[in-house]
Amino acid sequence: MVEATAEVWHAQHEVHEHHGPQGVLKYLWSTDHKVISMQYLFTGMFMAVVGGFMAYVFRMQLAFPGSSVPGFGIVSPGEYNSLVTNHGSIMIFWVAMPVLIAAFGNFLIPLMIGADDMVFPRINRLSFQVFFISALVILGSLFVEGGGFGGAWTAYPPLSAKGVYNQTPLGATLWLIGVALEFVAFLLGGINFITTLMNARAPGMKAYDIPMVCWMIVIASILFMLSVGPLIAGAVMLLFDQTLGTGFYDPAMGGDPVLWQHLFWFFGHPEVYVVMLPAIGITIDIVATFARKKLFGYKLMLYTTVATGVLSFFVWAHHQFISGIDPRMANVFMVTTLLISVPIAELMFVIIATLYGGSIRLATPMLWALAFIAEFLIGGVTGIFLGASGADIYFHDTYFVLAHFHYTFFPIAIIGTFAALTYWFPKMFGKMMSDKLGKIHFWGTIIPFNFIFIPLFVLGMGGQHRRIYNYQHFPDLAGADFQRLRIIATVALLVMLAFQLVFFYNFIRSLLRGEKAPKNPWNANTLEWTTESPPPHGNWPPDQMPKVYRGPYEYGRPDRESDFWPQDEPA
């Protein structure tokens, strides 16, 4: 009876061309969630290299102003602006989102809930195709006449709205179109993730049996879908201002430039949680597995996350404390901002409580997960200073802000990704990664990371503003002690970038010559570890689709011989 249900369900999905094209086309035109995940992953990794190269160029300019940067040449002010703008945009929209949400969401959700694919495989494929075009558009925008857009990733008008101000009419419009296409791709992806989690779970998998990382990716998708609408509206208005000569943001024509800031940050703040939640989910799953301990407070965590999500829609104006908003409104947003640090802290405490008393194994994925907690905490704590509107009058638009959000984004987009990659690599590619190289890469990334951004906190407190091409033009900021800190940051960046070669070496070497991965190398409970590594097309043989008998975190139970208890093992 049960077998039959699984089979019927599988048969329904057969219509979605499960035996699609062969050969190279199989990889370009596939609807298999694992292939689409790889497409997102490799596109995201490529874009990360592009974004990293940009950071290298502008950090060199800041440390050694005016000198020729190896591999790039002399950096002009316009190029500098374009580099910082596109670095930020690429890292958030073309690295953090595609890798954390799309790549891992696509790979993990069907496998972890015991489905053979997403519920809308063709929409999934369309999502990647639109995303791929958006990546081409943003890359192309760097090479058009006038150069890439240089008006900051937040694209405030009037600078972004008028070619005569930003000097990059074509670059600005292409940037906007690229971002808009990327949103379309993630809308399609989000619909898929949410519907799949709601409708395609394995028989027996109740709401509280869903692995946290799936919940987190899906809650992130919900936040994205609810917050992106106003920004799309705002982006269309900006596009019209740029190309049709409307005046939505032009005070001379009766428009309002601060309106954009509201529409942007109404999306922008939830967006930071959109990328944060998947990384937290990854950390949770890894911590539970490597501490061999049941997750402390599953429901607490879930409800806390939902509360964070709701609250995240009411904090946006903390980015606008000095944009001329009403001070009474600033007070309201200060309170909500300070409030939202409470659930974030709670998530951290729950993870730490899970570690307490566990039998911790410090494999590479666990190191990354622990580093995530340590580094992200610094980012979260510095956010509280910025959220206090009085302090923010001074801190706004300084390197303190920049260091704050790099202490959140770097742990999320880079540490979280490496945690996930090293943990699921055996499942994704069927090979084990080298733990030794992994640890070298880990320390070679974490130590320089702190040397990059702690000096930037100091510079920010010293009053160094963001988005300035050459500090030598500002007597107050041109001193040798300041310059020394800038050089430390840049050198640390070079070291960190160099250590990424270890990762790429490890990645490729493991793919080619790595030890063959068993089904369940980490003795984990969740369903993806019950199938082959890598999983076959359809994930499980149709007659062996898994069924679920318990929650995902039954580790180290005293009443059992083995210290784990897979979700699909009959009681």
Binding site: F120, N192, M198, P203, G229, I232, M237, L244
Partner: protein, 200 residues
């Protein structure tokens, strides 16, 4: 619940049978899409309200700009609302016997076409009176918001047209009809709100 939180208690569960499903996949996906769309229109509406509230002396429409044809559009509004009601009947008919839904779906489609057509005529007239997207933020928001709705209406007509074609071929399933209708209802129910805000 209590058993789950007690860490080491073994919970006895009945043998799992089937995959839990909340709603048909298509309907659920469409609902999610509609939520995102509602937020987009919420963004447009709040932008409109904010800009309008900043006009000195609430001169809206601003000096020299034409008034919008409130009465004519009320007729369109009524036509669109009726199309929504007709589609509800189409659903009921479909449940009894699929082919009985043909006529009501056709009527809904024609009403939708009438709506889009007369909105188009209205645009032509207004353009002639000097209301353009550049002439003022008043004109800008009018064409932006009404245009965005118009595009959705056209998309809804195409979708319902496809459904009605499938119905004639005898291939339309209940959940396909439901998916398309969710979008249609969205277009219908959104319009009165926009009418109130943009026209009145």
């Amino acid at each position: 619940m209590a058993t789950e939180s007690a860490a080491h208690e073994i919970e006895q569960r009945p043998e799992p049978v089937s995959r839990p499903k909340i709603l048909a996949d298509g309907v659920m996906g469409m609902l999610l899409f509609v939520f995102a769309e509602i937020m987009m229109f919420a963004g447009l509406i709040s932008a409109h309200r904010i800009v309008r509230s900043q006009v000195a002396g609430e001169m809206w429409p601003p000096y020299g700009q034409p008034r919008l044809p409130v009465q004519e559009t009320a007729v369109n509004t009524a036509a669109l609302l009726v199309s929504g009601i007709v589609l509800v009947f189409a659903h009921l008919a479909f449940k009894k016997e699929a082919s009985r839904a043909r006529l009501p779906i056709l009527i809904a489609l024609l009403l939708g076409l009438f709506f889009v057509g007369s909105q188009g005529a209205e645009w032509v007239a207004l353009l002639g009176e000097g209301l353009t997207i550049q002439s003022s933020t008043y004109g800008g928001f009018f064409y932006l918001i009404v245009g965005a709705h118009g595009l959705h209406a056209i998309a809804a007509i195409l979708a319902l047209g496809w459904a009605s074609f499938e119905l004639y071929k005898g291939r339309l399933t209940g959940s396909q009809l439901a998916t398309v209708s969710v979008f249609w209802y969205f277009v219908v129910l959104l319009w009165p709100v926009l009418y109130l805000i943009v026209y009145l």
